[in-house]
Every structure is written in C-alpha cells, then in structure tokens.
Symmetry: C2
Subunit: 246 residues, 2 copies
C-alpha cells in the first residue's frame, strides 16, 4: 500500500489497455507524485476492478499509462444508501469520506426542517468521494446525488428499500444492534441509513418517518453524537449486522 | 440543548453552591457567549452530575455562578480505555473528540513501531476532551494519559483488562461482531480497544499482541479504514455488543 499511487480513471481497464492522461492527471502523477516512465501505479474505474499499470509516456500536459495485470477483482459495496443532512463544510466532507471507507453505494444529501448548513457543493463532494476511494482501496466510487428535500425523497421512496432511521430522540430506547440482528434472516435487499442534522428531526418529520412500514428507528447510544460520528456508528452497526463485515 | 451553554468546571457542585469564575471562564461566558446576570447555564465537573446554574455576578475578570438544581445524575462511561497511536494533529483531535462522544473512560496514546506523527500535545488533547464533553452532554471527561511506548504498556498490562486488538491485517477474517457477542455472557470487567497507526502494526508487535490471553483480535471490514474511522467503528461495536448502548 504505502507509497504506491492509486488513481481513479474514467477509462476502460484491461490487459494491455492504454490510458491517455488528461492534463490534471499528468500534473498530479508527474509533477506532484514525481512518477517517471516505467513507474508502477494502481488504477480503478468503478467497473473493471483494480489494475497494476505502468507509466508508458510522460508529458507536461499528458501522458500514457498501460495496464499490466488485474490486482483486485471489482467489488461493489452493498446496495446501501447514506441519506444525510449536509452540515458544516468540513463535516460534510468527512461524512462523504467515511461513507466511502465504510462501504456505501449511494450518497443522498437531504434538506430537513432543521438543516442549517452552507450550500453543499456536489462537485466537491464527488471529488472527495473519489479521493477517499483512492485511499481506502475501494474499487468503486459511490454516487453523490443532488440534494433534495426530505419530504420529496419520502414521497418517492421505493417501498422495498428499508430505512434505518437514526433518531437521537430514541436515546434510551431499544438497542440498535438487537434490532438489526433480528432482521438478519429476513432483511436481504436494499437499505438506506438516514442521519439528521445537528438539531435532529422536527416532530412532523419524526411522525412521518415512523409511520412507514419500511422504517426501522434506532438509537445510537445514550450520548449526543455529532452528525459525522452518527454516520460512522450507524454504518458500522449496519455493516456488522447486515452488510459486508459479517 | 440548543443555545444553552454547558460548561465543565473544576469545582464541587450542589444545591446553592457558588462557583467563582476564573478569568478565562468569565471571558468565555460574558465576553464570547454574552451571558448576563440571571442567565441560565449547565455545569458539570465529572463527579456531581449536571446542574442547572445561574449567573449571579458578572465581571470582566471573574464572576460567580450559583447552582440551582441537578438536571442530570452523574453517569460514568463504561470502564473502557482507548489505546491509540497518535496520527496527524487534526485526526488525533478527532479521535479524542469521538472517544468522548462514544463513551470512553481513559485515553492512552501509544507509540508503536510504525507511529509517525507530530508530537502529541497532551495539554491540548485534554482541552479537546473537555470541549467534546461540554458538547455531547456527557457528565464526565475522560483522562488523557501521557503517551508511552506500546511495548512498555504491554509489559505492565493488567491481565484482567481485555484488549480488543483492531488489526487491519485480519481483514477477511472472522466477524468482529460475532466475536464480541460471543463474549457477552462472560465479559464483564474492564476492556481496552487498541487502534494502530496508518501503517498498521509490525509483525513482532502483532505476534506479541496475539500471544496474550487477554487479547481479542478483530477485523473491521474488508476496506482500509483511517485511524479515526477505525476508532469510531471499534467503539461502536464494543458499545453495542458489550457497553452502554445495549
């Protein structure tokens, strides 16, 4: 791991495949990381697994890489969405990064009644997702959807997708883990995790969320967690009980 | 919660108790937070629970608070240590903050063979722990011990304290959660969680750790987690399976 550059590219990867570099990629590989002709690196594109590749041509504004051999099979994350209210910029970046490490397929920012944040830059969030995937050894990059209102997201919610509703107001209620483990036998299929803003959910939001058949409300312990802590904790419980940590 | 100042003080708290303020506290309460005489705030000292208090005297360099009534009983975290290798400054701060939110009694920084970090400022880490406790509603502040070498910590390890050894090299091994749940019936007593540096543990370190009776090695999923993510994930699993999230 240490030292080997790992790069996400939007280009097919395969035995002997050549990959022409864009200017920004060439700057990063040759200007920043100081790779020379013949240097090895790892590539992934979200579809073809991870490939060991070599620098074939170095240029100031471009260059060429060549795929040598697959170093890792493509591995999709579980079909899990993280639905989260954007918080402050650094925290939102952190949530995106952690979601990639923890194994999420799709990130859906939502605006709730108590959401109070700087505007989410979706383009930046996508770049953070790519960087996190490069660093954590993932072979995929989760999608980052455009933010939408929670109420509208729920209007169109696909009924087969279960929703783990992380509700601070449940603190002291039933154990999150026991609830998830009880679902283990019958819970195949898609899931989403919903993390609210720092102020929690409004009463109308909570009432609506609790009224759905697909909703599973859980508490995350007796203390108040920040949004990004709650995201990692909920993802841990889900992955350990139902996901790819089993 | 929203808006009410919550302050850690090193002073006994009780019915009618007056608390003289130091200069920095007065500056924070009256200069920064703009509290006036009669304003309400919450106090805790790590021993006497949380108290609703009132500003009795406002001064430029001091002031006096008076305790009105206890708003929360004292609640100690589980007897859990987080043993972690300091990483970059922002990440270390994050680990301290998350440990408080997640409920840790004692933070022990350790230097491992692959630890490669700026020097840990223990005084700063203690301030971060206090701030985190003020924000997350805890009535305690975990201790932050002076850093020591992992080898020496293990030389003096108390045999009754079980050690959850989070080992990246175990990825793909047995499920962390299953292992912890299996311990539920017989695992009363003190625990510690050990999180390594970004480069993981050296082979001699791993061999030594695995050789102890008190060690429980676990993997945290199939992806590489950053140190701070691993800390939150391990704390989540422990709290959910054995701690105060049950």
């Amino acid at each position: 791991m240490s030292g080997t550059v790992r790069l996400y590219v939007e280009h097919p990867l395969g035995q002997g495949q050549t990959i022409p570099l864009e200017r920004a990629q060439a700057h990063y590989l040759f200007g920043v990381m100081r790779l020379e002709a013949g240097a090895e690196l790892l590539l992934f594109n979200g579809a073809d697994g991870e490939w060991r590749a070599e620098v074939a041509q170095v240029g100031k504004r471009g260059g060429v890489l060549v795929c040598r051999e697959q170093s890792r099979a493509q591995a999709a994350p579980p079909d899990l969405w993280l639905v989260f209210a954007p918080v402050k910029k650094a925290q939102t970046q952190f949530i995106v990064e952690k979601a990639v490490e923890m194994g999420v397929a799709h990130l859906q920012p939502v605006l709730t009644e108590f959401t109070n944040s700087e505007r989410l830059r979706v383009d930046k969030a996508r770049l953070h997702a790519i960087e996190a995937a490069e660093q954590c050894g993932a072979t995929y990059v989760p999608e980052v959807a455009e933010p939408q209102k929670l109420s509208r997201l729920l209007d169109q919610w696909p009924a087969e997708r279960r929703l783990l509703f992380c509700d601070e107001a449940q603190a002291g209620g039933s154990s999150a883990l026991a609830g998830l483990l009880a679902l283990r036998d019958r819970a195949a299929g898609p899931w989403a995790i919903l993390i609210g803003p720092e102020g929690g959910f409004s009463e109308p939001e909570r009432a609506r969320l609790q009224g759905f058949d697909f909703t599973h409300p859980v508490a995350l312990g007796p203390r108040i967690l920040r949004a990004e802590t709650a995201a990692v904790a909920a993802l841990t419980l889900w992955q350990a009980a139902l996901g790819d940590w089993q």
